[in-house]
């Protein structure tokens, strides 16, 4: 930390030949501008990225971003893993809303393989994806509060995230990196406990969210901090490739769930919250509004949850039940083939997009018929819109830069892939 001492971060490969302790970072003034190094370990850079700010007093004159501090080579790994194992990679991309990534990936593969997923599985997916959206927005808005100096609201809504984790645990057995769902459906049906917990959440969450909104929405201290801070026009936002809540905050009601409905989103009634000028307050309010809409969707999906199987009738792609593996030779063969990754994937290329927590999360999959994707590219919304950050914080103060960063919800895992 003392990030200024990392003005020039040591660039060599980690090893034993690092320069020794480097404490000399005397305050340097170039044309009376201060260079302030925000990150990579600054408390407000959630995850890891660096912003080198040129400051004139408290005003930011220009900034330069460095990313890639947790580049993990997702796309390269994806070329070496069978389709079903890539789910575990998508978990770790936008880790605040893993189920959306999981489902998006499954739907991409299903599109490639031509599997029709039964309605029940689609509804279950919708429920889980909307839960994930809520938990994603919870983090973002809570952290925005933290960065504005109010820690408490964050902890109030974080408890609800903890409850959403409970639901995940009931559905898939993990909290954060869910590895949820399988190609062709879900790995298991919603258990009665899970349904009960979701229903409980539907009752409790509105109260908590109302409380959170009362703490922030109309508090002048907070509004002064965020209104007209980091605004971006719809035109610039589109040019920069913004999607998701950040684009909607600028007034463009682009939502993949409505434009290209997937997983039966067309069955549900919900609104698209939009803002006015794309500033931090708009982003905050749009995310809050989306949480309300997600609740609506979950309620509808849960009330109309159709009966039926929760996985597609595609034995060559979907693991047979364990009992079958014992008794049935065919099932055993399929089991082995699927686990070995030897499914007969067609040659082709697919682009599939879902509305992730941060916007259009796209999967561009090229299959050459082998056991692994020939090429898999993730369209990570964070990565694309984070480049607008210097433009957004130019001329503002350090404090603004920090709330803008948290309101953009840049997630390092998704940013660096």
């Amino acid at each position: 930390m003392i990030s200024e001492e990392l003005d020039i971060a040591p660039k060599n490969v980690p090893g034993n030949d690092l320069p020794a302790r480097n404490d000399n970072g005397p305050v340097q003034y170039v044309n009376e501008l201060t260079t302030l190094n925000l990150g990579p370990t600054h408390p407000a850079t959630h995850g890891i990225f660096q912003n080198i700010l040129q400051m004139d007093g408290e005003k930011i004159v220009s900034s330069e971003q460095t990313i890639g501090y947790i580049h993990r080579a997702f796309e390269k790994i994806a070329e070496r893993r069978p389709f079903y194992q890539i789910t575990t990679l998508t978990d770790r991309m936008n880790y605040c809303s893993s189920p959306i990534n999981n489902m998006g990936w499954h739907m991409t593969v299903e599109k490639l393989l031509g599997i029709d997923v039964p309605k029940r599985a689609q509804y279950i997916r919708v429920i889980l994806m909307e839960l994930a959206r809520i938990s994603d927005h919870l983090i973002c808005n809570g952290i925005l509060g933290v960065d504005a100096g109010a820690f408490t609201g964050f902890l109030y809504i974080y408890q609800e995230r903890e409850n959403i984790y409970d639901i995940y645990e009931e559905v898939c057995g993990a909290r954060l990196t869910t590895n949820m769902g399988r190609i062709g459906g879900m790995e298991r049906d919603l258990s009665p406990t899970a349904i009960r917990k979701i229903k409980e959440l539907l009752v409790r969450f509105p109260k908590v969210l109302t409380e959170f909104e009362n703490l922030f929405n109309r508090n002048r201290i907070f509004m002064d901090r965020v209104v007209n801070v980091g605004g971006i026009s719809a035109e610039r936002a589109l040019s920069y490739g913004f999607t998701g809540p950040n684009l909607r905050a600028a007034g463009v009601d682009y939502d993949v769930r409505v434009m290209n409905p997937y997983s039966s989103y067309q069955d549900f009634e919900f609104d698209i919250p939009v803002g006015q000028s794309g500033d931090t307050y708009d982003r905050f309010m749009v995310r809050n509004g989306e949480m309300w809409q997600s609740l609506r969707i979950i309620e509808q999906a849960l009330n109309n949850l159709p009966e039926g199987p929760y996985y597609a009738d595609a034995p060559q792609y979907y693991l047979p039940p364990k009992q079958e593996v014992y008794k049935n030779m065919e099932a055993l063969i399929y089991h082995f083939k699927i686990v070995m990754g030897e499914i007969d994937a067609p040659v082709g290329e697919v682009y599939h997009a879902v509305e992730g927590g941060n916007g259009e999360l796209g999967f561009y999959l090229i299959s050459d018929g082998g056991r692994t994707p020939y090429r898999l590219h993730f369209r990570r919304p964070c990565f694309i819109y984070y480049q607008a950050y210097p433009e957004m914080c130019k001329g503002l103060t350090l404090s603004d830069a920090i709330v803008i960063m948290s309101s953009m919800n840049v997630i390092a895992g998704e940013l660096d892939a």
């Binding site: 930390m1 003392i2 990030s3 200024e4 404490d23 000399n24 970072g25 005397p26 305050v27 201060t34 302030l36 600054h42 408390p43 407000a44 408290e58 509060g145 933290v146 960065d147 504005a148 100096g149 109010a150 820690f151 408490t152 902890l155 109030y156 408890q159 509105p206 109302t210 909104e213 703490l215 922030f216 929405n217 109309r218 508090n219 201290i221 907070f222 002064d224 901090r225 609104d271 919250p273 309010m285 809050n288 509004g289 309300w292 809409q293 609740l295 609506r296 309620e299 103060t397 350090l398 404090s399 603004d400 920090i402």
Partner: protein, 388 residues
């Protein structure tokens, strides 16, 4: 002064010093507990019963942590910073009257000693002076660290403290006008009856004073000099071990002193409703000496409960509100509080001319009416698309 008076005085001073330190120590614990409880958590509960030994553990750790001085820092100033912070913080509790007085008989002579470090007739100014020096610790430390975040923190602290001192002073002047004295004891004695507490005569002044003391103590929503999410640790980013401890400690002492000051100025200090009746009854039943001492003791307890409430209030606010931005802070100080407090002074002066103490309620009433009217007339905000 005679020897017995000196002895008792010495004891009182020692007690005040000790209590200041003790309260500051346990304020750190209280802060963690209060924060935890406001946030649906439990807070420290492993170190000792209910975590009561937590401050001691912290101190023990800090004393034996590596004392680190950055190589590029100016060494002496780096050490001087926390010393100054601690010194100025500790100096200010000297003039605060914590209670009425102790009576005792020595060698058949009646003595009466006030429960106050030193009685000077410019007590308010003394506190003011010491508080205005408090910023040096932060500035010197922040500058000496040779770290940009520290420097920014130091600069923010300096400008913030200077700006808010003005409004603080102006809001205080109304009280001085009404009392006609700079002595804290006189101010307290002025508020002997409940409805003459300055909170009732100076509501606006109280709000301004309270806000400014938040700013002077560098507490949220004015904690810009050290705000964690922006400046890492602000002026104390580079400090480790007990030097850091001194900084943190001085903040809590300042908070304690501010709370005491607020209680004295606006809440009648050690006075409470029906204090005269109680005192009379005690003196009648226990005798002049013992009864008076017991009455004083009750007063001290009342005083401390007021102080504790304000310390709690400081924490309560800290864990509720977001913080200001630097320019908003300045605007609030210069463009809102200073004009308001000048208006307050003028109104109080006019009120005094016509012997009407509650003149400043005028502003408060106007503000409340305006707020109500505007809220009623505002279009219903279309914010939350409620769930069907």
């Amino acid at each position: 002064m005679e020897l017995p008076v000196l002895t008792v005085k010495g004891l009182i001073i020692l007690a005040i010093f000790g209590i200041t330190l003790l309260i500051a120590t346990y304020s750190t614990y209280a802060e963690r507990k209060v924060a935890a409880f406001l946030q649906d958590r439990l807070g420290p509960n492993r170190a000792g019963p209910w975590g009561l030994l937590q401050p001691i553990a912290d101190a023990g750790k800090m004393f034996f942590k590596e004392d680190f001085i950055p190589s590029q820092a100016s060494k002496w100033l780096f050490i001087l910073g926390p010393c100054l912070a601690m010194l100025t913080a500790l100096m200010s509790s000297a003039v605060i009257p914590f209670g009425d007085s102790v009576r005792f008989i020595w060698d058949k002579v009646n003595y009466e000693v006030a429960i106050q470090g030193i009685e000077i007739n410019i007590g308010v100014l003394y506190i003011f002076g010491v508080v205005s020096l408090g910023v040096y610790g932060v500035m010197v430390g922040g500058w000496a660290s040779n770290n940009k975040f520290s420097l920014l923190g130091a600069i923010r602290a300096a400008s913030q403290n200077i700006s808010y001192e003005i409004a603080l002073g102006l809001s205080l002047i109304t009280i001085l006008m009404m009392t006609g004295s700079l002595s804290l004891r006189a101010i307290i004695d002025e508020q002997a009856t409940f409805f003459e507490w300055n909170i009732f005569t100076q509501p606006l002044g109280f709000v301004i004073f309270l806000t400014c003391s938040f700013a002077e103590c560098n507490r949220t929503p004015f904690d810009l000099p050290e705000c964690e999410t922006e400046l890492v640790g602000g002026y104390h980013t580079e400090y480790s071990s007990m030097k850091l401890g001194f900084y943190l400690f001085s903040e809590y002492i300042n908070m304690f002193v501010s709370s005491a000051f607020i209680s004295c100025l606006y809440f009648g200090g050690f006075h409470y409703p029906f204090i005269n009746e109680v005192n009379q009854a005690l003196e009648n039943s226990l005798g002049a000496v013992a009864g008076h001492n017991v009455a004083t003791l009750i007063g001290v307890v009342v005083m401390f409960s007021k102080i504790f409430f304000f310390i709690f209030f400081f924490m309560w606010v800290r864990w509720t509100l977001p913080r200001f931005r630097y320019d908003q802070l300045m605007n609030l100080g210069w463009k809102t509080f200073i004009p308001l407090s000048i208006l307050n002074v003028v109104l109080t002066g006019a009120g005094l001319l016509y012997n009407f103490k509650y003149a400043t309620w005028l502003i408060a009433i106007v503000m409340i009416v305006m707020a109500v009217v505007s809220t009623a007339r505002a279009p219903k905000p279309n914010i939350v698309p409620q769930r069907t």
